[in-house]
């Protein structure tokens, strides 16, 4: 078991003919992901190392049975690409693109609420289910199959924490980057709900950062709905107010969205919070027992 991507994933990549799009699509395929199609308007009929390219998502779905989309196009085309994938009936859309205008994200989010598709990202590293499928840019070589579900707003911080856990012998059911933008398509709560229902996952690790209130909302949800242990890390204790710290969504506004408030909210609901990535892996050992 894993969540969202696995051996049944049939991936179509929008932006597959771009430099980055080609590189990562082929890496995903090398890992074992079933990459069935690409979409680039005007390049239908071509192929990328044997992967057929279509003009529209609709053609790709009809001819290959694609059930998962990865969006890799530049920011000004990304919202349109997500909406097209949804219109073509693709249930899961993973968007890697960073820099999409916030109002575009707002419209996309509110539109998808009415339909059936799930969006993960934008501005995220994708989803890896070790041993099964990798969709996105997560360096899979550091991770193996296991019982820790990891969900994070940040890419490299996920690798850091995943690697600390790996060094203590833990593997992962799935690793999900929900992205660092102000309007993520999926929240911590959405992913925690899936990990709670996933038989392979025994511990859920959530990795948050300053800005917004998604961590506080997750704390309330966990207290009411989650039976599995949840462990958290929050980045940005030293971030000054009013400054965007790299991610568009990572900003303390006035006194709102601080790391301290998030850690407090989580701890108040019984979620343990590691003070640094190493401590997260130490707490994981306490919860699950030593592996090495």
């Amino acid at each position: 078991m894993a969540i969202l991507v696995d051996r049944d994933t049939r991936l179509v990549v929008s932006g597959i003919t771009g430099r980055e799009g080609t590189f990562h699509s082929l890496r995903n395929r090398d890992y074992g992901t079933n990459v069935v199609a690409g979409v680039t308007p005007g390049k239908g009929g071509q192929d990328v190392d044997g992967i057929p390219v279509f003009n529209t998502f609709h053609d790709a779905v009809e001819q290959t049975g694609a059930n998962t989309a990865m969006v890799f196009v530049p920011p000004r085309f990304a919202a349109d690409s997500i909406l097209e994938a949804e219109d073509a009936g693709i249930p899961l859309i993973i968007t890697i693109t960073e820099g999409i205008p916030a109002h575009d994200e707002l419209r996309v989010y509110n539109h998808l609420l009415r339909g059936g598709s799930r969006l993960v990202g934008p501005n995220c590293p994708g989803i890896l289910s070790p041993g099964k499928a990798n969709v996105g840019i997560i360096p899979a070589q550091f991770f193996k199959e296991g019982n820790v579900g990891l969900v994070s707003r940040s890419g490299t911080l996920t690798y850091q924490i995943g690697n600390e856990l790996a060094q203590r012998g833990f593997g992962n059911s799935s690793i999900v980057g929900i992205g660092g933008d102000p309007v993520p398509g999926s929240s911590f709560i959405d992913m925690i709900e899936l990990f709670e229902a996933d038989a392979e996952t025994e511990l859920i690790v959530m990795c948050g950062e300053i800005g917004g209130s998604a961590e506080e909302e997750a704390a309330d949800y966990i207290a009411e709905n989650v039976s599995k242990p949840v462990l958290a890390y929050i980045a940005g204790f030293t971030a000054p107010p009013g400054k965007t710290m790299g991610h568009a969504g990572a900003i303390v506004s006035g006194s709102k969205g601080t790391a301290a408030a998030k850690a407090e909210a989580l701890e108040a609901k019984g979620v343990r919070v590691g003070r640094n990535p190493t401590q997260v892996s130490e707490i994981a050992v306490e919860i699950l027992g030593a592996r090495v």
């Binding site: 205008p101 989010y109 940040s154 490299t156 690798y159 309007v183 940005g236 204790f237 790299g246 568009a248």
Partner: protein, 379 residues
């Protein structure tokens, strides 16, 4: 991107939001000329990105040429809570009857725009929200539907504003919503929203934040970027396409990925150090980007030691090592460096550094070990 008051008002005027007549000025003669053109009385206002200008003496009424000159001289160059005043806005004085508050904010939690209205304007809204929460009325708008007339009417009636201005205030909210959507703003705030003695509705202040990611759609706004207000190191980093935030400490920090860099700052602080900056070299950094980043970090003369914290995914550690070696050849830094390379090609990267025998470069295997070492060296 935060706009200055007069820049926000220019956007307001473009979308039909009534604002008093005014002119920006960067020198005393310019300010006096603007005042003469507008006719007295005028208000001379400091243009800085910080609240509390009035209390700090940055907003003054001038009744004649002499007063205009006197106030412009006093306010230009003034320091308002750490911000130096480089620009003035000279505005025709308004006859104030009532002061309300209106705002449209990007509600990240609800993932919808939120429109706010209060009959208690002209003061600190956070204070109003605490002392009299009922005085602040708010509602969410479906971004696919947009603000409808009934939204504005409902807010206006509920907020208890004077009945004769319910409709014009509702109309004002609709125009502010236009600014919010069409200019890709994440904040539009008017405090105070003025009711004049002749019962006209006017935006007396403007606080507008435009989404950086949408600036490509607004070249006119992108051009307004006020470089004089930015920190020189931040400006240098921006020109080089690096994500850099200046902080107060003496430990220079470079990492890859925003989350990892934030975490690195935290770990350095936990080890008893004070970070000098946030610098995200981004994914897949090539050697030149690293060299460029080192230059930016070292341009801050408070920096006593530098920490490189890299977890290579797409970024290759050997590229980072090459960039650092190149930077040492070009800049010959006189402060110690601590380098932690982990992830893709980490062995190759460490081998390159060992071979180069750079003076005063220490390699550490873990993030915590590296943080402790750099804090010790910065002392």
């Amino acid at each position: 991107m935060d706009l200055l008051e007069y820049q926000g008002k220019q956007l307001f005027a473009k979308h039909g939001v009534p604002v008093p007549d005014g002119r920006p000025a960067t020198t005393v003669p310019e300010a006096v000329e603007a005042a003469e053109e507008l006719g007295y009385p005028v208000v001379i206002k400091a243009q800085v990105q910080i609240g509390g200008r009035g209390k700090a003496g940055g907003i003054k009424l001038a009744k004649d040429r002499h007063e205009a000159e006197e106030h412009a001289t006093a306010i230009l160059g003034m320091d308002i809570r750490g911000y130096t005043v480089h620009e003035l806005y000279v505005e025709k004085a308004s006859e104030i009857d009532e002061e309300y508050y209106a705002a449209i904010v990007f509600d990240r939690s609800a993932k919808k725009p939120m429109v706010m209205l209060s009959r208690m304007g002209g003061m600190d809204v956070e204070e109003v929200a605490e002392t009299d929460p009922e005085a602040m009325r708010m509602l969410h708008v479906d971004p696919l539907l947009g603000l409808q007339d009934f939204h504005g009417r409902r807010l206006a009636f509920e907020s208890g504003i004077a009945e004769d201005v319910v409709r014009p205030v509702g109309a004002m909210l609709a125009k502010l919503y236009d600014v919010f959507v069409r200019e890709d703003a994440t904040l539009v705030e008017v405090n105070p929203l003025l009711i004049t003695k002749s019962r006209e509705v006017v935006a007396l202040d403007a606080k507008v934040t435009v989404d950086d990611n949408a600036l490509y759609r607004h070249p006119d706004v992108a051009e307004l970027r006020d470089l004089s207000a930015e920190d020189p190191q931040e400006r240098m980093a921006k020109e080089r396409g690096l994500t850099y935030v200046k902080l107060d400490g003496n430990v220079g920090i470079l990492g890859n990925g925003a989350g990892l860099v934030m975490s690195t700052l935290d770990v350095v602080a936990q080890a008893g150090g004070e970070p000098a900056n946030f610098l995200d070299a981004g994914g897949g950094s090539k050697a030149e980007a690293i060299t460029s980043a080192v230059e930016v970090i070292l341009s801050d003369d408070k920096v006593r030691a530098v920490l490189f914290n890299i977890f290579g995914g797409i970024t290759r550690c050997d590229e980072v090592a090459r960039g650092l070696i190149e930077a040492f050849e070009q800049i010959k830094p006189d402060v110690p460096f601590v380098v932690r390379l982990d992830g893709t090609n980490d062995k190759e990267g460490r081998a390159l550094l060992a071979e180069a025998k750079l003076p005063n470069v220490h390699t550490e295997a873990t993030m915590l070990g590296a943080a402790e070492k750099v804090v010790e060296l910065a002392k």
